[in-house]
Symmetry: C2
Subunit: 360 residues, 2 copies
């Protein structure tokens, strides 16, 4: 029996790529690069050579059940865990661990976001494979740290501590650091000690549940079910009743920043969280004028540093745009300075208020 | 019998409003203001109270026959004159006059463009009505001159000469002047003597045919058919054979600038030739930030002097645009500085070459 499991978290609601991402179709479900596969599908494709398809578990919001069935018809219905409420990553991770522990008390779990970009898939799988082996040998919580390619201020950072004997590239974690300011980010990168927190975690089911008992007991207790509930037909009813009572907290805050047995494996596999347009711009191939074209044909005159994205077989003609986002869907068109992209969240609210839910 | 006729010229191919105007649907066929009526339909609606519907003649390119039948199902098939080739306005005017003269040798004709804006329709009809009366009394070629509201450089101007006794507001024409430079345009407006050439003409069929014989005999002769051909079932065959042999020349060059019996009636009825985006911008209501919205809902932040136009129920969110054209259709999106709109013609060619006919 294969004890390796994978949990893919795909319940996030993303409006930062509005109008492409919408409430009913957040980022992970989009065919971002026009390859014919959504980010979620690519995430599953990427891990499948390493984990028995039977052991791939999706945790999502129940609103997305239909779209997941549509995009991943091969995933068994019982492998889709439907959250009745949005409670950030800690309750999600705890539930998935309890579900898997009930199936296999010796399980080791890789927990992955569903909406990130990985360029070098072989190296990604190699890292996950080594990570599985590392956490299988002891009570260890492992996170992946991405070697930073630039002083990004949009990511959290992990500071490496002392190396773990016998495991090249694996270190004790010295500190988790929130998104830094630009000067700090530059210092981090120059030091060589800091790595981007990619939100990719490996552990034994038993180890992470022990950590929940110790560091987030309120979640562990809220989700404490009588024997025989998890991984049984009674699980959904139990979850629907109790999951909403969990505190809303991230796994980083709840566990990783508190636990003593936390390690980082430093990796480099062409990663981006595709957090917003700028991140997509940075990771995409540029024309010689420094523009990026997503899924559309563009005739650009005196445009620089801009990203053009459209739905369908559409052409864009533009002139004189510097550092702009041009994002066009059937329902909405966004033309916005990239430097102001943090405003998109507010815009989406304003669009909702003025024009209705149908546009967001 | 009513001797009043109207000729509506609607064969023009306009790409200056690309992507809205396209080869297969030029400007006159567009519902420009979202009122449910195209510019052509509005032109017909506007003249109908003044001219028997039986006497309204459309001259167009044969490519547009279907769209005209669709937009104006009430117009008799025999009232639609289909040009087999594009030869500018002089051959078109000559043919229409010969056609109408064959129907009614006493006909007076108002010749109108099909793609202009008229705000004050009552005053327009009053001017046409007075114009009919004026040309009915003698061998006179009358053009309407619009009192300029600004020193536009995009229009040709007509300089008024001495007033015609007994016809207030009607003057001999002193000169036709091509599009002026800005300084000249300002002088024109300040003088009070210059009026925009709106391309609206009135004359007796007999008068204009006499003018063709005298000033453009090559066109008159090319279109000279045996008696009984015009306004008969043999007319289309004759036209298909001979019309393409006509020289390509405008009525202004061929006749108006040469004839001695040319008059201008000065008028003011809220007119624009809607020649391009800037003209549309100028004639449309502005938000307090100086933006214009056509057929769409816009959330604009720090945008000024811009025009936003979209097809369908679409919203546009934009920021930081100064004096831009944003024109969005299902097939193409244009984001272009208004000051460079004369480039749109070149763009359309480039789009055609790079992306194919389907986009223009």
């Amino acid at each position: 029996m294969d004890h390796r499991y994978c949990v893919i978290m795909c319940g996030g609601v993303g409006t930062r790529f509005w109008p492409f991402s919408r409430q009913d179709r957040p980022k992970q479900f989009l065919d971002f690069f026009g390859t014919g596969r959504s980010l979620l599908q690519m995430t599953v494709d990427r891990i499948r050579p390493l984990v028995d398809p039977e052991n791939i578990i999706l945790v999502t919001n129940r609103d997305y059940y239909d779209i997941i069935r549509e995009q991943l018809p091969e995933v068994k219905q019982s492998n889709i865990l439907l959250e009745p409420a949005r409670r950030n990553t800690a309750p999600c991770v705890c539930w998935a661990a309890k579900h898997i522990y009930a199936l296999d008390p010796e399980a080791v779990i890789a927990t992955l976001p569903s909406d990130h970009l990985v360029i070098k898939e072989e190296e990604f799988r190699k890292a996950i494979d080594e990570g599985f082996n590392f956490v299988d040998e002891g009570n260890r919580l492992l996170t992946l740290g991405i070697k930073p390619s630039a002083p990004q201020t949009g990511y959290g950072y992990i500071q490496q501590g002392k190396p773990e004997n016998g495991f090249p590239g694996i270190f004790k974690v010295k500190a988790f650091v929130e998104k830094p300011n630009p000067e700090m980010a530059q210092l981090f990168v120059d030091s060589g000690e800091f790595f981007w927190n990619a939100g990719i975690f490996l552990w034994k089911a038993h180890s992470v549940l022990e950590a929940f008992d110790k560091y987030a007991p309120e979640i562990a207790q809220t989700l404490d079910a009588p024997d025989g509930v998890y991984a049984s037909p009674r699980e959904p009813e139990f979850i629907n009743r109790h999951f909403p009572d969990c505190v809303n907290i991230s796994i980083d805050y709840a566990i990783m920043e508190k636990a003593a047995n936390v390690f980082v494996k430093t990796v480099e596999f062409g990663w981006s969280d595709l957090g917003a347009w700028k991140a997509l711009y940075d990771t995409s191939p540029h024309t010689k004028e420094g523009n990026v074209t997503q899924n559309c044909r563009v005739l650009a005159n005196d445009c620089h540093g801009s990203i053009f994205a459209a739905e369908g077989d559409k052409i864009i003609v533009a002139a004189g745009l510097q550092d702009y986002i041009v994002a066009d869907t059937k329902k909405a068109l966004l033309i916005y300075p990239m430097k102001d992209e943090q405003m998109i969240r507010n815009i989406v609210n304003e669009v909702k208020n003025r024009f209705g839910e149908g546009f967001v």
